[in-house]
Chain length 400, copies 2
């Protein structure tokens, strides 16, 4: 059984943290100078490890084992949310690097560009899987700065390069390790989670149009208050969704905006961003139907309602054989301290699983915190996770 | 009975509209270069009309009749909301000028600085009534630019001047004309409104603190969603207020903000701006008590609730004798086409009424629109209103 080098693993993670360091975390949004630096740094680490390193035309960093034979692909992402954690993404990539070094052969490693969605959903892994069109690249732009994806890739120095595409015959499958981003492992005093499925999500932008008016002179009966219409919809969702949801369903109104948003003006326009997630497609459909009923009720009010579907992802079941390999390795190194669990967050593995057998391993997030610079995982959990990941990778490769 | 010069009145209003013209309206925020220009322009018109003109240390433009005897004070304001209407404020000031010219004596005219609250509530009229302290001038700043009131007054060239104070013995009372800023007159095919009272208001900022979390990995039961807590409060207000409110009560949630306001993050903080208005203090108190009950209910939820009182104004009853004078003049010039009505909007008259008998006259707003550059009133309604205003002023002065 191969033994990883825990100190080397942590040294590389600490080194990656220095690139875009923010307080105890990292600020490394996709194609920022820091993110580009991190990609080049990673490619150099791949080369050091004996992999053929390249960065492709969408920013994916790819390290290919030059030896013959079927491979296992390991990966995650290097960019971060704004002012976010040091391990979210980077840990899975450096696990891949460490496992490649430890096993010596059979491992390719990838850092998928923009898993965090600064420009769009799963840009890099969808490109690799042939699910990202040139047209989508044309129209995507940075959600904050508005810079187009094409310009960002050009400024990063990656334009004109081919985009790497998955060679399904080359791979036995795909494995990804990630921090949990929740507190379930910690709450149950566990050290490892073996992901059973990644939730599917449906995402909406809902807009109400009423009539902007003076808040002192417009009588209640005459109002078309877009803000009140919005609030009534969200309250109805909160009242009705629990009866339709499964035990692990989550739904979130992430943002609300009233226009013009002044104390003495009845809002003429209001907008909310809403999403729900579950691993069961039937539950997602039932929630969708309930939302539509509530929107129809809302449309009978004084304001006009418009729904924009911002996207959906199907639930992704993880490969049972890979789950078994991860579970066996976890049981070997941390008997009784692991559990099967769904992933409530999206991951590149949900894209890769459309092309290759895929699975994921979680390590605990201290306090369940993620997408914040205080995100952290205990060093011993980081090292344990990588050892389990290496053992599972070896056992999967051993099956040919 | 004196007859106003309708053409002269409209010429002056058109001239005022040129100063800071924006599309068909005006952009003349308090102490902007355009606003300062308008104040100097107005002072020159006062001088032309034989009044002793001055601009005081807070920007109030004041035209005093130099003849002996008791006076009637007429006024309104010259600055506008951003990109707003041409008549909101300016009409009442130019009515004052036109009535002073028409009656020849007995009329003082004032343009109160910052009725629109770019720096604070009713800065100019409160200064005139002795209700604005030096300390408040020290701490007020522009709600958009952050420029301090002191600096703005200095840049306008008015600092170092004394602030004019009301001489209650000089005045028979105060009259103000204004556009309705609502559609009640138009809806009832009326041309004049005689204001019975100006509503009082209570204004709040309500903040919820919960816990920011990942929207995919944080189970519903574990959430402290500040946005949901906020929505539940607003929905409860909408459900409960109608049973406590009077027929003319209005309440408004003017703004909602979720923090951080991202699609996949459970909001950790949420904030709303809320106000209600009525002419009856007992109703205001009952609404206050209801709001407090709802806040106590909200505080029993998973989030912390904090309320900041952003201010309140007491309802202001208008002088019955002045109302009778306005009604008689309205009935003379537009029989059956006028009504008594409350003012849902705040006006300088609510400040002046604390020192002097006061009343207000409304003319119709086309489509009820105000605080928007499309605000307008038919020329014949503008002229009719001024004639009625002049007649009422003469009859009030005739009573000594």
């Amino acid at each position: 059984m191969p033994t990883i080098d825990g100190d080397r693993l942590l040294r590389d993670l600490y080194a990656a943290r220095e690139i875009g360091k923010y307080k105890t975390g990292v600020h490394r949004p996709t194609f920022s100078p820091q993110d580009v630096e991190a990609r080049h740094w990673l490619a150099a680490r791949f080369t050091d490890a004996g992999l053929d390193a390249s960065i492709d035309g969408i920013g994916n960093v790819y390290g290919r084992d030059p030896t013959p034979g079927r491979k296992l692909l390991l990966g995650s992402h290097m960019e971060t949310q704004n002012h976010a954690g040091w391990l979210d993404g980077a840990m899975g990539v450096i696990y891949g690097l460490e496992v490649a070094r430890t096993l010596g052969r059979g491992i390719d490693v990838a850092a998928w560009a923009d898993e965090e969605g600064h420009f769009g959903p799963f840009i890099g892994s969808r490109s690799f899987c042939g699910l990202l069109t040139e047209h989508e690249i044309d129209v995507c732009s940075n959600r904050e700065t508005g810079v187009s994806l094409r310009d960002a890739v050009r400024q990063a120095g990656f334009s004109g390069r081919p985009r790497q595409k998955v060679d399904a015959g080359r791979y036995r499958g795909y494995l990804e390790a990630h921090i949990e981003q929740g507190a379930d492992l910690e709450d149950h005093h566990l050290r490892l989670g073996i992901v059973t499925a990644i939730v599917g999500s449906r995402r909406f932008r809902i807009e109400f149009k009423g009539q902007q008016n003076h808040a002192g002179t417009t009588r209640m009966a005459a109002r078309k208050d877009a803000g009140v219409a919005l609030v009534k919809l969200v309250a109805a969702i909160e009242a009705r969704f629990p009866s339709v949801a499964g035990p692990l369903t989550v739904w979130t109104t992430g943002d609300i905006k009233l226009d013009p948003g002044a104390p003495s003006i009845v809002p003429g326009r209001a907008e909310l961003v809403f999403q729900f997630r579950d691993t069961d497609p039937a539950i997602l459909d039932a929630l969708d139907a309930t939302l539509n009923e509530l929107l129809e009720e809302a449309a009978r009010g004084p304001c006009e309602v418009t729904v924009t579907y911002r996207g959906s992802t199907a639930p992704s079941a993880m490969d049972p054989g890979f789950q078994a390999a991860l579970t066996a390795a976890a049981q070997h190194h941390a008997p009784g301290l692991h559990q099967p669990m769904p992933s409530g967050a999206g991951h590149d593995a949900q894209i890769l699983s459309q092309m290759l057998p895929s699975a994921m391993l979680f390590v605990p997030s201290i306090g369940g915190i993620s997408h914040h610079y205080t995100e952290n995982t205990r060093d011993e959990d980081i090292v344990l996770g990588c050892q389990v990941f290496a053992d599972a990778a070896e056992s999967i490769l051993a099956k040919g």
